[in-house]
């Protein structure tokens, strides 16, 4: 990747078959007063309708007024690539926090991400890609970043492999099997994200990055297991989020947020 649009790329933040994201400095045309933005560049087999579908999701995202969602600055097309720029948080993410995170911070940050997810759901869209890497730690609280656009840019593209092969642990198995992304699948991802953020362990144990087929079988056929080090209160919320059937999960992400807030205020 030798540049995208008129962004000055600082460094790569991760990549996959699907694309790459970068830390970048924003171009003057955006008229924004920030030092850095995160630019996500998606390689597409871009048809007009694919770009239109992805743009529609991004416009709705940009319109959702939620204190816990990152700001979207720009979106566009450069050759066969689709790109968009969003807010950068210097606090890092639950996957790579700038400072070590306490259990309470992990819980309250995930609660913030859950409120952002709820605001998206109320606006009619699912996030589709809630992972620790997309839950950012800002001074003002949590920020949920990004949006899963693979399905829109390339229909059938179910798992992106973006970040790492093992990130499939954050996906609702029902979606991997072709089900529709909805409130319940984002709630599932919130549970898996919180588990990883507090314990440092995945709900399927460690998934070997070198063997994607094994990872997929494990995720599709294995039962998630909750780490015994978790307090009963936290374990219960996570267990509910990871219920096999969507009707057995908390009905909204707002419920997840409320239950998590109740734990940290004890």
């Amino acid at each position: 990747m030798d540049g995208i649009a008129d962004y000055e790329l600082v460094r790569s933040l991760g990549s996959g078959n699907y694309g790459e994201f970068f830390l970048a400095t924003p171009p003057p045309r955006l008229h924004i007063d920030v030092d850095y933005v995160v630019v996500k560049v998606l390689v597409t087999a871009g048809s007009d309708s694919a770009f239109n579908r992805a743009m529609r999701e991004l416009r709705i995202f940009a319109q959702v007024n939620s204190p816990n969602l990152v700001t979207l600055y720009d979106a566009g097309q450069d050759g066969d690539s689709f790109f968009y720029a969003m807010e950068y948080c210097s606090g890092g993410s639950l996957a790579h926090p700038t400072n070590p995170t306490s259990t309470d911070l992990a819980i309250s940050t995930t609660a913030g991400a859950a409120r952002a997810a709820h605001d998206l759901h109320e606006a009619g869209i699912a996030h589709r890609d809630i992972t620790p890497a997309n839950v950012l730690i800002a001074d003002s609280g949590a920020k949920l970043a990004d949006l899963g656009l693979a399905q829109f840019l390339s229909p059938g593209y179910t798992v992106t492999g973006m970040g790492s092969v093992g990130s499939v642990e954050f996906m609702d198995p029902l979606v991997i099997k072709g089900g529709r992304a909805d409130r319940a699948s984002d709630i599932w991802s919130l549970g898996a994200t919180l588990h990883r953020a507090i314990t440092g362990r995945g709900i399927y144990g460690e998934l070997p990055d070198a063997d994607p087929v094994f990872c997929m079988r494990r995720v599709l056929t294995g039962e998630p297991s909750i780490d015994p080090s978790l307090t009963p209160e936290v374990a219960l919320v996570i267990r509910d989020c990871l219920a096999r059937s969507p009707v057995d999960r908390p009905l909204t992400a707002a419920v997840v947020a409320t239950r998590l807030d109740a734990i940290t205020s004890l």
Partner: protein, 428 residues
């Protein structure tokens, strides 16, 4: 609407130490003329000669000729604009940027990454064309002077086009860390056309005659049969940014349903293929030969195995070696640029794009076709071939080109040096 054409569009000069020239239907911007004074003289001469309003393409051709005939270091970065019948011809050489604003979208052209130059025809109607050393827009119009004819000092120019509905308000710079979503160009509410997204125009497309000696991109149209290593990728220096402001008609959606509510109707329910299968005790539709329901896991043995018609559910996944996976609920064309295949662009198959730096994968390499509950694989005459290895076997079998082969769950598929695995959702 009365068409003005470049000859009558107002052009406002941005302050600076360079030169901006305008004669008839032509405009020239040279922000740093000291970088090549002789070159500037030549360019100004060409500009005066071709100032008649029907001469725009000629001018660009002539400028391209100057570029071909001059060592690049003797020419400063410049941008030439010229009136043509349907719009404005633009040519950019060197580190200069142009923004073409249209209602609802903006397109950016940059000479920075072009080895030679960038040229394009900007079709009417446009809101504005802004040219300068950095990307700008018309937000700084206030206080700029119109140039009617002649040569003045300046660093750039803003040409105001036919499509302008109103002059945009001066844009505010956000003080906070959470600025409003970028508002590109607002038209009248309700009048904004659907954001138009097209493949970005390639550089130097307007004048293949002069450009062809530079233009390696012509190799793109050759079929994928020859060795793919000869491909040359030329990155176009054109990009577009889109309006993130909501479309009040298209973008409003009801909240997502709760899990205990009636789900929304499936968008693609009608396009599902109808096949014969069996239903589990909970009503889930499955292939006739499975032992367990793929949806709820209950055993199918006690059922009478009455065959019924139903919409086919996803058969499984194609898992790529990098961990990405594609749902097998439709046909795919596999390759480095599957979007070039007619089945993809006509909408009969989806693209399964493999980004392959080694180019061991052909642009159109193979095809996956679902028939009933079966997955068929077809090599499309790829340069490096397609081979399969069935589960439990260690032998790889090469597929004959264009001969469909049914693959069973667990089969590994090699396309070039990349590997895909068919992982079924059903246990048979």
């Amino acid at each position: 609407m009365v068409k003005l054409g470049l000859i009558q569009c107002p052009a406002r000069v941005k302050p600076g130490d360079g030169i901006v020239a305008r004669y008839g239907g032509t405009i020239l911007v040279v922000p740093d003329p000291l970088a090549g004074r002789r070159g500037v003289e030549v360019l100004l001469g060409v500009l005066r000669e071709h100032s008649s309003p029907d001469d725009g393409r000629e001018l660009v051709l002539e400028m391209a000729g100057v570029l071909v005939g001059t060592k690049t270091r003797d020419l400063p970065a410049f941008c030439a604009l010229a009136h043509t019948d349907g719009g404005v011809a633009i040519l950019i050489h060197g580190d200069l940027q142009a923004t073409v604003a249209r209602t609802g979208e903006a397109e950016h052209l940059s000479g920075r990454r072009a080895a030679t130059w960038v040229d394009q025809l900007i079709e009417d109607p446009f809101v504005s064309i802004t040219v300068g050393p950095t990307l700008g827009d018309e937000s700084e119009l206030e206080g700029l002077c119109d140039l009617e004819t002649g040569v003045v000092r300046g660093s750039g120019v803003v040409v105001i086009g036919d499509a302008r509905i109103e002059l945009p308000k001066a844009r505010k710079t956000s003080e906070s860390n959470a600025p409003e979503p970028a508002d590109v160009h607002h038209g009248e509410p309700g009048e904004r056309p659907e954001v138009k997204v097209q493949a970005a125009s390639r550089t130097r497309s307007a004048h293949p005659e002069t450009a062809s000696i530079w233009n390696q991109q012509s190799s793109e149209n050759t079929p994928a049969a020859r060795p793919d290593a000869e491909d040359i990728d030329v990155k176009p220096s054109v990009f577009k940014s889109f309006d993130l402001a909501p479309d009040p008609f298209a973008d409003r959606r009801p909240p997502l349903p709760l899990a205990n509510e009636v789900p929304r109707p499936d968008d693609d329910a009608d396009s599902r293929v109808i096949v014969r299968g069996i239903k589990c005790a909970n009503g889930h539709f499955n292939p006739p030969d499975v032992k367990f329901c793929a949806a709820c896991g209950i055993a199918m043995v006690q059922l009478s195995h009455d065959l019924v018609d139903g919409p086919r559910v996803p058969l499984g996944l194609l898992i790529l070696d990098d961990g990405s996976a594609f749902q097998l609920d439709d046909d795919y064309v596999v390759g480095r640029e599957p979007e070039r295949d007619h089945k993809v662009y006509e909408g009969h198959a989806r693209p399964l794009k493999i980004v392959d730096a080694d180019r061991s994968v052909s642009r159109v390499h193979a095809e996956v076709v679902l028939t009933g509950w079966d997955v068929q694989l077809i090599d499309r005459g790829s340069a490096n071939g397609t081979s399969i290895c069935t589960p439990g076997s260690r032998n790889w079998t090469s597929l004959q080109a264009n001969m469909p082969t049914v693959i069973i769950p667990g089969t590994e598929v090699r396309v070039g040096r990349r590997t895909l695995v068919y992982d079924a959702h059903f246990r048979r």
